[in-house]
Symmetry: D3
Subunit: 193 residues, 6 copies
């Protein structure tokens, strides 16, 4: 079912705060102002488009439209919830957040985009795995951008060492981007969990 | 056990982000820049000091030091977690957040302040109830400040109408402050739940 | 030719400023802080994904992946150039900017995304027309968001009255979104040029 | 005399700017955005609560409620006056500022908090001395936080060397916190004046 | 004596904070972010250049270079002191601030610009009176700009009614600009003191 | 023809955005918040006043009022156009921007200031050459200020090495300021083109 003009505008209204909400993890590291959730999501989508091209060049079949839709909405529920930083999460909190996010995704998004969010969250398809990898790749790349600007913080080393930031390194183009980020930052890449 | 100089400085370090982290609910309503968690906590503590005076004038016995300590740290775990806006919370999310906050409070705070946080969270004592009331009174007062500045938003009416924002109105000085906030804003006060 | 990991990271570096650069037109209207170019681009892409669904529901054939790629990079050269507000542009300035943007797009983007930018700029395909329409639809929608927040400015009326902000209203789903934006804002829709 | 609801809300209104006003000394050192007066005051109050605990552990008698109230309002007049940076002050300016602050404290604060402000300003009691020490301890600690973030400025060395930033080092827990701040920052502690 | 290259750069360094420091009075009225001291000074200088032209057209003899130099440095000491809002000032505070500002002007500025600051502060010459008038005209004009943007605040009416904001209305072009500001804002002009 | 009160206020309105608009080149280098166009223009005018004194000390005849007016308005058209960063400009873009700026200068400025803008742009007189030199001197000095604050960026070296940033080094006081900026920054001065 196609979205009506009213649904389209309600969706834009609902997702509008993504441009104002900060990625909390940077504020916790003294980086203020910092990247918005919208700026993050745009970079994830750009990264996904390039990973799709790299995967196809190696003969993989990828649904590019599906992957890009997943990237665009992968943080959509944060428009109501804000960005909860990863390191504090417990399995129970993750589970409860997932339920709330599922409810918010259903409320905020029209069916087609809701489906894209759910598929990304499930992480089963190649497209979803590319989005989940890009979510972390973008974060580590942004960290390297901040470091090159001269920003320092005691919690920055932890980010480079956390194996939870490595995702789906079994996909060759993903692994190469991880390796290049770590090499350019002069940091050893942790062993994936 | 008294905090050593190292513990005191570790605590300041740990709570430092409260000054940078925004109260997410205002960003969601298009108010940017908005109040920090630190600015909120300071106002809650000031409000508690005045509620303590008002309660004592009516013959209640209040431990003022305990109440102020609770006010100062009532949002301490948000220094790691950020501010999760209330309307999205489910009972399960509330429970999981509580567990994470309890863990963070234990990590970030020395024993005496950790005890203050736990007592505030429990909400059993008169002091804790004053802090929980002040938490909401401050929010509604800040809303009235933003409204007087000409800020408008579709979600603002909902805040004035939500009975969950009324807490411990059975304490007479608390009730009078609620009534005066609503009267000054020209808004009807909802019936407490 | 697929982008290498180095090319992928160079592209992220090159487009990183989109998250910091403001949409200049809002600053000129006293809205500060305002939307970044990245936040705008994300909303354009979301809007395009919904317009694609609406077009397909009416039987049109749309290449969704191509449309989304165009949306993601339609303002990519602004990462070096900043956002030049439309009303000041002359035909000569438009032409000279186009040449510079073409050069920057070639420098900043890998071949596949450069192709997407050029196709969007050309505006010939249905996909490109959806992106150009979404570029203006997003701007008018954001204007309505700012107005609802209580922002006022002498130059705001001009934006609502400028027929240059209406693009490709011959595409039925596009026209319906325009009509709904104007109706919700309580503004008459100007006659398209 | 207990504050009425009207007085309580007038006080919150009056002190509301503390959350927006920057600590001017940081802006002068190129740190922008920087800590607000509210964020500073909250940290001073937290520090005082821990110093109170440390003093009690050494057998000193401290009125914790009084100390916390002093901390909360020690910069209250700055809500009207802004933060005037210390190094520029002359004895005459200090005296004239004190008179204006006394007038503002009387205008902005209800009697009980006005008394707390005056006692803090007088600096005679142990409680007041803890607040005055915490005011400087917080400043030096925040300086160390900014330094760890990679911020540099020609005027920063002066702050570490200024003996006027050492206050009431005769109180043992205060002295230990000073020593630890300097040790962690790798800076020699100046001789108190 | 002409300034050497070292003196010129020391002066730029010394006055650099004017671009970061806010005009405190706006923050106190909930306008955040607000005009910097540098933005204010630039507008005062532009206004002075136009008042000079208007005075000359009426046959007055004005030293335009002197007037512009006074405008550029009239707030120079605030680069160290910050902006102390007018309404809180007492005669004693004004006198003590003047002494400190005189010292800072001598420290921060080379002789020629120090002379310009002193002449502006003295307010004796026509040029100095134009600068002092422009200082207030700019403030009232900026207030009208903020009002047109939809900003509201209880303390705004007071600014329009304060006769201390009217300066040197005996100079005909100055008086006409005051009258036009009030007329455009739809406010009655108070009687000069 | 002298500007009327209406023209004076229209000019202030028109140039008001200079205080909000960022110097885009700094944002592209990760410096956020950064200097506004107004803060830049004020520093250029201050620098020009000191260069005028230095030139006069060497026997040159300079029209100080004319030079200061040129400095004040040299970026006036950017109030509508924003700041387009230099490195992206082509000869064609420069030419087209010049035409648009000429039109905007005529629209935004009264005749006397429009004349000052045109003379500055022409760059023929000594006064105009001082303004054009000061425009670049201020930029390099600000770069050194940001570097001393610990900011780092891959594109910073390029700025120090670009001979296009050296202007009118044949004027002795200008050359000495350039040499001192480079010497203080510990950078070799490039050979002028």
């Amino acid at each position: 079912m196609a979205p009506t003009a009213d649904v389209i505008l309600d969706t834009l209204d609902a997702l509008d705060p993504l441009g104002e909400l900060p990625r909390t993890g940077w504020l916790l590291r003294g980086i203020n102002p910092c990247e918005s959730i919208a700026a993050h999501s745009l970079q994830v989508a750009l990264l996904v488009s390039m990973l799709v091209d790299a995967c196809r060049a190696e003969g993989m079949i990828v649904d590019g439209e599906a992957a890009l839709r997943m990237a665009l909405v992968h943080d959509a529920p944060e428009a109501r919830l804000g960005d909860v930083p990863m390191p504090v999460k417990s399995p129970e909190l993750d589970a409860a957040l997932h339920v709330v996010e599922e409810r918010l995704a259903a409320e905020l998004l029209p069916p087609a985009l809701h489906g894209a969010w759910s598929a990304a969250e499930a992480g089963a398809s190649l497209e979803a795995r590319l989005v989940k990898a890009a979510d972390k790749l973008q974060m580590l790349h942004k960290l390297s951008v901040y470091e090159r600007q001269g920003r320092r913080h005691p919690l920055i080393d932890v980010m480079w060492q956390n194996p939870a930031n490595l995702r789906f390194v079994d996909i060759a183009p993903v692994r190469r981007v991880y390796e290049t980020i770590f090499a350019r930052a002069g940091r050893p890449m942790p062993a994936p969990r």
